[in-house]
């Protein structure tokens, strides 16, 4: 097994061609499996348009990554099988210091892949209006929809939902329904939704997993994210940024319902809260709240089952509040 200075002796197999053929078959097979069998089941699912875009991105990345992983692993496996030292062989290998062709094509290849992924990622970020990610207080990539003071079923009116994080609960306010608030997140199907995510104390992160929405809840910041729910059903909301001892317990569930059902629910809650005096007691709807100057702080707010007055009731941070 001694190879002389000549590069390709007649007995030496054509390692390059062999590797390429095995790689081509494996990579094709892997990509077909990923695209046609795995893709439809990939997280986070297809419940909303932002989730669909994330799923598509993950699938495209997987299809691009699989050939690279297979290439590297195949190469190392091949070399440790073919070029492992035989017992008694004390020789050194051929002194190859480099190969300009190989190096240049490697660099060119990786650059092309990287630039493709960059262009692809940017298109996928700008096109679907941030793809469900938090875009700060003044997003430049906006979701299409009419802004209106009232929301009604049937139209293309944007539904505004304010998400308020606090240790350790989520509260949702609906400014188009008199600023009523709820501890469960209800969304109408097929309606564009704007989330205004903010926090009363520390940094939280609003993660509606199946909706493909994730936006940090920062105190004194209005972080905007968009989505449009595409199918009915329940979804999970979790806090995704460490926010203190009950961070793990800071989750609840939301529902996507039909537009008519949503209208009924929202108006119902609104009139109930009005009747109970909660709407009057809550601070006026604003994009951010400063808990240290909320006038009702510490006041004895009326409480109704299933509806917390989070925006008006601020837990002192050292209180060991159990969920």
């Amino acid at each position: 097994m001694t190879t002389g200075p000549q590069n390709e002796s007649p007995h030496e197999p054509q390692h390059g061609r062999r590797l390429f053929l095995i790689w081509l078959i494996l990579a094709l097979a892997a990509d077909l499996v990923i695209w046609f069998i795995w893709y439809p089941h990939m997280p986070p699912g297809d419940m909303s348009d932002s989730a669909r875009h994330q799923q598509f991105d993950i699938a495209v990345l997987a299809v691009s990554a699989a050939p690279v992983i297979i290439f590297v692993l195949l190469y190392f496996t091949y070399s440790i099988v073919v070029w492992r030292v035989r017992p008694g062989d004390e020789d050194d290998g051929e002194p190859i210091y480099g190969n300009t062709k190989v190096q240049v094509s490697w660099i060119a290849g990786t650059t092309v892949i990287v630039l493709f992924l960059f262009v692809f990622g940017t298109v996928e970020l700008v096109g679907p209006a941030g793809a469900g990610a938090g875009e700060g207080p003044a997003p430049i990539w906006k979701l299409a929809g009419t802004q209106s003071a009232v929301w009604a079923p049937g139209g293309k009116t944007m539904l505004d939902v304010q998400v308020i994080g606090q240790q350790w609960a989520w509260t949702y306010r609906y400014p188009q329904f008199g600023g009523m608030e709820s501890s469960e997140l209800m969304l109408p199907v097929d309606s564009p939704v704007t989330f205004h995510v903010t926090s009363l104390d520390v940094i939280h992160s609003f993660w509606a997993y199946q909706l493909g929405v994730k936006a940090d809840a920062n105190p004194q910041v209005d972080n905007v994210a968009y989505t449009t729910a595409k199918s009915l059903g329940g979804f999970t909301v979790r806090c995704n940024e460490l926010c203190g001892i009950w961070h793990g317990a800071m989750f609840n569930y939301g529902h996507v319902v039909s537009q008519a059902a949503f209208q009924t629910w929202a108006s119902g809650v609104q009139s109930k809260e009005k009747a109970d005096g909660i709407l009057a007691a809550l601070p006026a709807y604003a994009l951010t709240y400063d808990p240290t100057v909320i006038p009702q702080l510490g006041a004895n707010l009326p409480k109704v089952d299933g509806i917390t007055g989070a925006a008006g009731y601020y837990y002192p941070p050292s209180d060991p509040v159990t969920p």
Partner: protein
């Protein structure tokens, strides 16, 4: 420069200004050392605490936190100073300020027999390397035990073993211990020990700074652990504000220890840069510099440039907690975004401070056991520099969903993806070196192969995280956790293990048991992957980091991961047993050049003599010239007198007469 080139002086015992004292040593308990350091730390803590109580007795407590932290922070400060004073760090400084001659005691450390030099402020870089080695293993095992506690809690989807605050304490201690202490896991033991050896130098540029860098690590370690006494800190290793301002007294330990370790990193980096630039032996051109030295050199720049930002952030955090500044409190005009920016501006170079030394070790190991020159040496060096430079321009990818500057996300997506090009060079170099090689499966080589496997998965999953839409699902979930455990544990720690099996015979003259070593490798490789591969799936299925309550349908997978993690812990235990038994009891000598390596350190005795080289060596060829017929030896270890002087002839600053 003068010290290294002046043959006669360099061969005489020690160098530099004349030594004072009487030559005779004081009794051991009066000489500075760990025991006096502990006394100093205890006295310092009490003094600082009393001073803090005195200063802040009438001080209004922090509006957000319910504790008065001034006595604790001052206690930590004075304890650190007392610890260093007891170790004798300030002795030379004081004597020089007073104009008195320096004591011989510290300087003699390198040639001192026995173990006591390892417990003192010793200025020999090889002693410091050994100190780092034992320190790092201890820190790593401590962090690992915390990981075992985390996985025990995650056996069930609700809390059963640790309470919520205990759980976060364990998570924070694990994360911070690993991220801050392990930044020096290769840089400390191998960088300090082999950096000078590999460039043909007798010493590092600033031995006092180097030793100080090490002796800050035990202080940081103890202070970080002391957070447990105050209930720990609930912020994980990132210490996000304003949670950190709100947290109880344990948070002080986080900021103080991280800042202290930051100082240690800056000092180590500073010393390494100057050493590599100025202390290379004649003939050690930049184009012959071993890849490990390149990695140390690059990492040192990252440390010197990025870590001060962390030290600043920690300082501001402590000020917020004690003296009620409001750098990070939004309601008072500060910004929690500022902390996120500062932390990640350090934090992303930090992960390359962790990764690059691994690349260096692996490059050395691969060339030796492939018996081939490193493929594309210049590409490898360029890759390290490229990663180092780009790592300063990617930090916002940790904040894609945070709402900071969201319009710049495409730019940070681009820089993040660009960094995979120079990172890919490490694979180009590795794969090129494997081409038609004579691969020998020694234990270091096995770890190197595992490094390529693990780091590949870690790196590719990083590309998933760089894509903003995909990141919206993955950010902050177990996917991220799996990703950085693959790069840091699978990359750095595997490289560290490769380094231990490769270099321990050189450092101690003793080799580790091979059978146990192979068992250690295979269990570690298998259980590492069975532990961390499922975490990608868990994250994709919606499990956020740092929670102990998770969805019921994820319980089976979490149990699998926990059991694998315990097995991984068992594998590390095999390593510890092997290490302890081999070093203390079996003591199988390995003094020659067992790997038939060409590099400079293996041309010396094991362990190398106190001053490394009798004369400054002249480097004749690259250390990677395997398989080259009639290759010159890597260096002439005993060059005829005059050669060194001639090499520097005409160079500015060389004393006249040296050319002779």
């Amino acid at each position: 420069m003068a010290i290294e080139t002046h043959q006669d002086q360099a061969e005489a015992a020690g160098s530099g200004p004349p030594l004072g004292g009487h030559g005779a040593l004081r009794p051991w308990y009066l000489r500075p050392g760990v025991h006096l350091g502990v006394v100093g730390a205890a006295v310092g803590y009490i003094l600082g605490h009393l001073l803090g109580n005195f200063l802040s007795s009438a001080y209004q407590q922090n509006a957000l936190s319910d504790s008065n932290d001034i006595p604790i922070v001052l206690g930590y400060t004075f304890a650190t100073l007392g610890w260093l004073a007891g170790l004798g760090v300030f002795n030379d400084l004081g004597r020089q300020i007073l104009g008195r001659p320096l004591l011989a005691e510290i300087r003699r450390g390198g040639s001192e027999a026995g173990l006591s030099k390892y417990f003192r402020y010793t200025l020999d870089h090889k002693v410091v390397g050994i100190q780092y080695l034992y320190g790092m293993i201890a820190y790593f095992l401590t962090g690992g035990l915390f990981a075992m506690a985390i996985r025990s809690e995650l056996l069930s989807p609700s809390y059963h073993l640790l309470g919520p605050s205990q759980y976060l304490m364990v998570v924070g201690e694990h994360g911070t211990m690993m991220m801050m202490m392990m930044s020096s896991v290769i840089l400390g033991p191998f960088g300090q020990y082999f950096g000078p050896l590999l460039i043909g130098s007798k010493r590092v540029a600033f031995p006092r700074i180097e030793a100080l860098g090490f002796w800050l690590t035990p202080a940081a370690y103890v202070i970080l652990l002391s957070g447990v006494l105050f209930g720990g800190f609930p912020t994980g290793w990132t210490g996000y504000e304003p949670l950190a301002t709100q947290a109880t007294a344990g948070e002080d330990s986080y900021f103080f220890a991280f800042g202290l370790m930051g100082l240690s990193m800056i000092l180590a980096g500073f010393n390494m840069i100057v050493t590599v630039i100025n202390y290379r032996a004649p003939g050690m051109r930049w184009s012959r510099l071993p890849m490990f030295v390149w990695s140390m050199f690059t990492v040192s720049f990252l440390q010197v440039l990025a870590v001060p930002v962390l030290v600043g952030a920690c300082y501001m955090g402590l000020m917020d907690r004690t003296f009620q500044t409001a750098f990070f409190t939004n309601q008072l005009g500060g910004s929690s975004f500022l902390y996120e920016d500062l932390f990640w501006f350090f934090g992303h170079p930090e992960v390359y401070i962790l990764a690059l030394p691994g690349f260096g070790v692996i490059s050395e190991v691969v060339a030796v056991f492939c018996r081939k020159p490193l493929f594309g040496y210049k590409v490898a060096a360029a890759g390290m520099l490229g990663v180092g430079i780009l790592s300063f321009f990617v930090w916002q990818h940790h904040l894609f969903d945070s709402g900071i500057n969201p319009d710049m996300r495409p730019l940070f997506m681009l820089t993040t993806e660009l960094i995979s090009i120079p990172t890919g060079f490490i694979y180009l170099v590795g794969m090129g070196t494997f081409w038609k090689a004579r691969i020998r499966f020694s234990i270091p080589m096995l770890f190197a192969l595992a490094f390529y496997f693990n780091f590949l998965i870690g790196g590719i999953s990083g590309v998933f995280l760089s894509d903003v839409p995909a990141d919206t699902t993955e950010h902050g979930s177990f996917f991220v956790m799996a990703h950085f455990h693959y790069t840091i544990m699978g990359g750095l720690i595997f490289a560290f293990m490769a380094g231990i099996y490769y270099w321990l015979p050189k450092m101690t003259g003793i080799k580790l048991n091979e059978k146990l070593g192979k068992l250690h490798f295979w269990t570690m490789f298998i259980f590492f992957n069975t532990t961390f591969l499922p975490l990608f799936a868990l994250g994709m299925m919606g499990m956020p980091r740092r929670v102990f309550e998770y969805a019921r349908n994820l319980e089976t997978l979490n149990d699998w991961v926990s059991i694998s993690a315990f097995c991984l812990g068992g594998s590390i235990l095999i390593f510890v047993i092997n290490f302890v038994m081999s070093m203390l009891f079996w003591r199988e000598p390995e003094v020659g050049n067992p790997w038939r390596a060409r590099s400079l350190e293996w041309q010396l005795s094991s362990p190398p003599p106190p001053e490394n080289f009798k004369r400054v060596p002249v480097i004749l060829s690259s250390s990677y010239d395997y398989g080259v017929k009639d290759a010159l030896p890597v260096a002439d270890l005993n060059p005829p007198p005059g050669v060194i002087g001639a090499a520097y002839a005409g160079a500015p600053g060389v004393p006249a007469g040296l050319e002779a």
